[in-house]
């Protein structure tokens, strides 16, 4: 790069940064333009977490050469974290999968084959499984990182083509409890409000989320709000571990893991006792519900009051331990209720729990009792882990019990409607929901699943108690197809590996935490023979229809035949999904066409039934008349809020009577520690991507175990010592980080490392929430011991 060009680029960098903070630098636009000459900017979404940051990818000679945040984007206001800034390194990375690979047996080496051969093999194996073992012997396991078009198309083919609801995805492991919480509390999935509440709130209640590392750009907004209004904004952080999120908190509640249900019930008790609740909101919109044996029963306020009175601050403080006192419970309850606006934010700390749905209900309860929803600065906001868990999987029909547009599978009317919209015979989609993730991989273990398609995810690393489930995936009578960009622990167990196009190498939509769908168009060509998943699914289906001699299978991809894969194909899939399947549903996205999204800095929040409405960004706050068009079109009375969500026919919000419940596995004499797991800022999930970015790998080359100094002193563990952590299921050996992070009696390990000695999901337990079926990754009983002093370690990434 020449000196002059470098100077121009530096000025460009300064101007871009300055524009985000309202600063006018004495540098002209023409200079910026010259610095950027010869570049084309393609606007899309970051690939590496659920925040949905928008960025422009600079392209020169067909290669990605620059990135910048999009200042006008309502998701990130222009900011991007370091992980997001470095994701371009995965485009054209030398480790990318570029050719279809096949082997008949899983202990054989892979052979490169052509796409024709690969698609024929996949069609033949799935057809064979169906013919010999029935429709439910096949399954699709997808991802909250697949684009909506991909999830939608695959689930259509499996449900209407192969006639099985064995359609699942990794959001079962992270978001299912939030879905369960929203649906049972508000009658509708996904948050009511938007990120924009961050700049309007006076109280943040951050529970079970280390957002500073897992959602860094949202954390930046929270921090900015606090810094700009230090006296008027209170940050409450509730977490058994001191995390980087805790450092901006005014109050950090640190407690014994698994006791927060008691804490939230005690907060509700204080709110009732001290009459801090919003009587009018509660009487206008809420009912109280108690789960009986088979069904939920409505009870009155007095019954709720009596139930909750058991949870005195004194009792909760005794259950919670740590620094929780009755006074601090009263203080946070008052702040929560009396703040002009309170925003709760949570993530896996509540979701990955044996009672994850209950935990979600209890946060939602606090908002319902205090009327802290449906107004600026107030919301119960579940943070999404993956970039398209909401848009693709929750909305697009990517779980075994839901069809596109939030339609339950077992609902005859909803199912028949979908069959009609797809033009397939009535009764084609089976009425029984498929197997949820943990049941699906148990069925793989038992040899009941004969062919499984795993797309864009690595269950051979991400499932809890993973060694147990890898046994099934290793079976030679289970045909396993993987579509992915890099080798993973799961491609290691596959028969057929199909190379896919990466983000910005194909076109598609991601829907982030705040109900916003955002388009990422193709900017560069994929490497080698890698192909977009929508192309792969279409071509496979054509062959599958021939193998099974079933014209209905071909009918599933009829509208997409022959379309060019870079734009026309995904656009046709998106159009069918939005124009037909979301029409009149609460996630109505008919206004969010590719044409509309292409012209926007960010994207569209549903409901957005028309293009004109979508162009302005869609619905910022659901259920509010004058803001949400469906609150007007679906209104049944004159009240300002209309809770038309599909799950509550009575249009009420439910305050649930949920008792405190601990973990499925509590520490005991043999396994006296609580093991918890989580994320670190530099890595993403199974690190098959971030582990290949040298800057990120250098920052955190391998997992370590965080040990509280008191526990470390007791067990003779020094910083850097190798420590064995063992549970009923398996063990890891990791270097120790001794610091005041986890509360005494708790250890913490981040879960990204794929080295067999440091893969913590071998140790985590697989018990799951009976409602959401989400496993309790966050709490396992374990024991630890010092194995040796520090030893040199090597980072590890799977290669072919």
């Amino acid at each position: 790069m020449s000196l002059t060009r470098r100077e121009f680029i530096k000025k460009s960098a300064a101007l871009t940064a300055a524009s985000y903070v309202g600063l006018n630098l004495p540098l002209g636009e023409t200079e910026r333009a010259r610095g950027e000459e010869t570049e084309k900017w393609v606007r899309g979404t970051c690939r590496l977490c659920g925040v949905g940051c928008r960025l422009d990818l600079g392209v020169k000679n067909g290669k990605a050469v620059a990135l910048r945040g999009v200042a006008d984007s309502r998701t990130n206001l222009g900011y991007v974290c370091m992980k997001g800034m470095l994701f371009y390194k995965l485009i054209g990375h030398p480790d990318r999968l570029t050719k279809p690979l096949y082997r008949t047996k899983k202990d054989q080496p892979f052979k490169e084959i052509s796409w024709d051969q690969a698609l024929d093999i996949a069609a033949r194996e799935f057809a064979k499984a169906v013919k010999e073992h029935g429709n439910d012997s096949v399954a699709y396991y997808g991802s909250g990182q697949a684009q909506t078009e991909e999830t939608y198309l695959f689930q259509k083919i499996f449900r209407a083509g192969l006639q099985t609801n064995n359609v699942e995805g990794n959001p079962r492991l992270c978001m299912a409890s939030a879905v369960g919480g929203y649906v049972t509390s508000f009658g509708a999935d996904e948050p009511i409000g938007s990120y924009s509440n961050i700049e309007k709130t006076n109280c943040f209640f951050i529970i079970g989320s280390n957002m500073a590392e897992a959602h860094p750009v949202i954390f930046r907004r929270v921090m900015r709000r606090k810094l700009d209004h230090p006296k008027d904004v209170t940050v409450i952080n509730v977490d058994p571990r001191v995390s980087p999120t805790s450092r901006i908190a005014d109050i950090h509640l640190q407690f014994k893991p698994g006791t927060d249900l008691a804490l939230m019930n005690a907060m509700a008790n204080v709110i009732i006792e001290e009459k801090l609740f919003d009587e009018k909101f509660v009487s206008d919109y809420c009912v109280f519900k108690k789960q009986e044996e088979k069904e939920a029963k409505t009870v009155d306020f007095e019954a709720y009051k009596e139930f909750i009175s058991e949870y005195t601050p004194e009792k909760a403080a005794a259950i919670c331990g740590g620094n929780i006192t009755p006074d601090i419970i009263r203080q946070v309850s008052r702040t929560f209720a009396q703040s002009k606006g309170t925003v709760s934010m949570w993530c896996m700390g509540l979701n990955q729990r044996i009672r994850g749905v209950w935990a979600n209900n209890l946060v939602n309860n606090l908002h319902l009792l205090t009327g802290q929803i449906c107004r600026p600065g107030a919301d119960s906001l579940s943070l999404t882990g993956q970039p398209n868990a909401c848009g693709g999987v929750r909305e697009g029909g990517g779980l075994c019990h839901i069809l596109p547009g939030h339609r339950p599978v077992e609902n005859d009317k909803a199912r028949n409607q979908v069959e009609e919209l797809w033009g397939v015979p009535a009764g084609r989609i089976p009425p029984k929901p498929g197997l949820h993730t943990m049941a699906l991989f148990s069925a793989v273990n038992e040899g009941k699943i004969k062919a499984i398609w795993i797309n864009c995810t690595s269950p051979a690393q991400s499932l809890p108690n993973v060694d147990f489930y890898r046994k099934g995936m290793r079976r030679d009578d289970v045909f396993l197809v993987c579509t992915d960009v890099f080798p993973t622990k799961t491609t290691e167990l596959a028969n057929l590996v199909l190379p896919t196009a990466f983000h910005f190498e194909k076109t598609g939509v991601y829907g982030c935490t705040e109900r916003r769908s955002q388009l990422t168009p193709k900017a560069v060509d994929p490497p080698g023979e890698a192909k977009p998943e929508v192309w792969i699914a279409r071509e496979w289906t054509l062959r599958l229809a021939r193998e099974l001699k079933d014209p209905v299978i071909e009918k599933c991809i009829e509208p997409f035949k022959g379309l060019e894969e870079g734009w026309a194909l995904p656009k046709a899939v998106w159009d069918e999904y939005t124009q037909k399947l979301t029409k009149g549903r609460d996630n109505d996205l008919r206004g969010a066409t590719y044409e509309v999204m292409k012209g926007m800095a960010d994207g569209v929040q549903w409901p957005a039934p028309t293009e004109d409405f979508a162009r302005k960004g869609g619905t910022e706050i659901k259920f509010v008349r004058g803001i949400d068009p469906m609150a007007d079109s679906e209104a049944k009375d004159d009240k300002p809020f209309q809770f038309y969500g599909p799950a509550h026919a009575d249009r009420k919000l439910y305050v649930w009577l949920r008792p405190h419940a601990g973990a499925a596995e509590e520490p005991d004499a043999e396994y006296p520690f609580v093991l918890s797991t989580g994320r670190i800022i530099d890595h993403w999930h199974t690190s098959s991507m971030t582990g290949r970015i040298p800057e990120l790998m250098r920052a955190n080359p391998y997992a370590f175990i965080e040990v509280n100094p008191k526990d470390a002193a007791r067990l003779g563990i020094k910083p850097g010592d190798m420590v064995e952590v063992e549970s009923h299921r398996g063990k890891n050996v990791l270097p120790a980080k001794v610091y005041e992070g986890p509360i005494e009696g708790m250890v913490f390990v981040y879960w990204h490392d794929m080295d067999e000695d440091r893969m913590i999901n071998k140790v985590c337990k697989d018990a799951f929430d009976p409602i959401s079926k989400e496993p309790e990754f966050k709490i396992s009983a374990a024991r630890i011991r010092r194995v040796s002093g520090s030893v040199p370690l090597k980072p590890y990434i799977v290669s072919l």
Partner: protein
């Protein structure tokens, strides 16, 4: 040579203490401040690896609360050929 544009946020009134420390780091220029604790910073480094080291060092400077990336040009590195695993 990768070039990054950053907004470095410190508390209001901390700019004078933070700025000299940041300027000691290699390849760092401060282009201005908005008076609310946000500094406009440009970093230039030999490789994106080194750039990340400098950004990391900025984030550790006493008084710095967050470092927000807004721009990155990496055209000299757009053909990645390095090994995946660092020694």
């Amino acid at each position: 040579m990768p070039i990054g544009g950053l907004v470095v946020s410190c508390g209001k009134g901390w700019e004078d203490r933070v700025m000299p420390k940041i300027l000691e780091l290699p390849g760092v220029e401060v282009h201005g401040s908005n008076g609310k604790g946000d500094l406009v910073v440009v970093v230039e480094a030999e490789t994106s690896n080194l750039l990340e080291t400098v950004v990391e060092a900025i984030s550790r400077v006493d008084g710095v609360l967050t470092v927000g990336m807004t721009y990155l040009n990496f055209e000299d590195e757009s053909n990645p050929k390095r090994p995946a695993i660092l020694p």
